[in-house]
Symmetry: C2
Subunit: 205 residues, 2 copies
């Protein structure tokens, strides 16, 4: 299949959305926990999450203003803090259900349990095996299509010791962290390769 | 394990990088193909790739200026166009090797083959099963840590008919598209769930 610009523009709306969201490849899937100034909690699935830097430790995520993610953005602007909670297979169906447009808290609607850490005004998902909190650093407007890049600094990380690798990274396979695409399809992962730092004069190993 | 802000800051450099890059969860892995105005081609592995919108079809990727990715950014600024090529297991070792700091083209160094499409001044990877081209729309400075978000519009897509799903998306499992973390670890994926559009009054299905 070959699609040129004109043919891409002529795709039906659903097909264009499904194709566009799957073009990057497999993406992460996390539940974003936040709460409003009045204490109403919110959970929303996000997959546009990316590492921006390690010192300070910065994470960015993209949000569309005119969607269910609006609550998340409003809450982050109000309290300046949010959590990211890795989705694993046992909470996959509940995590997916958090994309519905609820009037009540998604914790209440899905039965996922909220848990708090002193000094952090955002709920964590108790069932998550990897969870962390971010403090708002910047919201950048992406003018070409009215989306926003929300940038936060990691201020707290919680996981099981068993999921820490000797080099300091997370063992995403052991943690059961899922991948996703198009906000409807979920993948489990298996390691198929790990390589040393690449150098020009050296074969890959 | 629980890490607070102070403990995160005290991590050694390598551990902090590995932890930060694995926090988002599994990410895509694509080879970015570009060429300079003088015709020197370049291939670089990128995992910070995200969907920004479907109409127009926009993809964003994050680049760090002071790295091997510098060639990619310079080329994109010079020619205004680049390609993204999904990495699969058979080209994984060569793709990883593209992160080495070569003076010559990574095509020449790794043996991956370049292929061109009329009117697109950037090389595609012939071995890739999903590949597409982007035209530069905007480069946004992320001031908090001197990275950049490069935004492009999809102007060409090429894959096999067998990898197209009935809804218009890509079958990433059949295409063998890999995930990655920390630019050293690669994952193959298996579908473990696919759900309907979530509605408040409806059980997940």
């Amino acid at each position: 299949m070959k699609l040129e610009k004109k043919e891409i523009a002529e795709l039906g709306k659903l097909a264009r959305v499904q194709l566009a969201t799957s073009l990057p490849g497999v993406k992460p899937i996390c539940l974003v926990g936040s709460q409003s100034n009045t204490g109403l909690t919110n959970l929303a699935p996000f997959s546009s999450i990316t590492h921006l830097g390690s010192s300070p430790m910065l994470i960015g995520m993209v949000t569309r203003p005119a969607s269910v993610e609006r609550h998340t953005l409003n809450n982050i602007l109000e309290t300046g803090v949010w959590t990211l909670n890795h989705v694993h297979e046992e909470i996959m169906a509940q995590a997916h259900q958090c994309s519905a447009r609820y009037e009540v808290s998604e914790f209440e609607a899905t039965g996922l349990r909220e848990v708090y850490v002193d000094g952090i005004e955002a709920p964590f998902v108790e069932e998550a095996r990897v969870r962390y909190a971010l403090e708002l650093r910047e919201v950048m407007d992406i003018k070409v299509n009215d989306t926003k890049l929300i940038i936060g600094e990691v201020i707290y990380i919680e996981t099981y010791d068993a999921f820490l690798l000797p080099d300091g990274g997370l063992d995403l396979v052991q943690a059961g962290s899922l991948g996703s695409t198009a906000l409807d399809t979920y993948f489990d992962i298996n390691q198929c390769g790990k390589f040393d730092y690449a150098k020009p004069e050296k074969e890959p190993s």
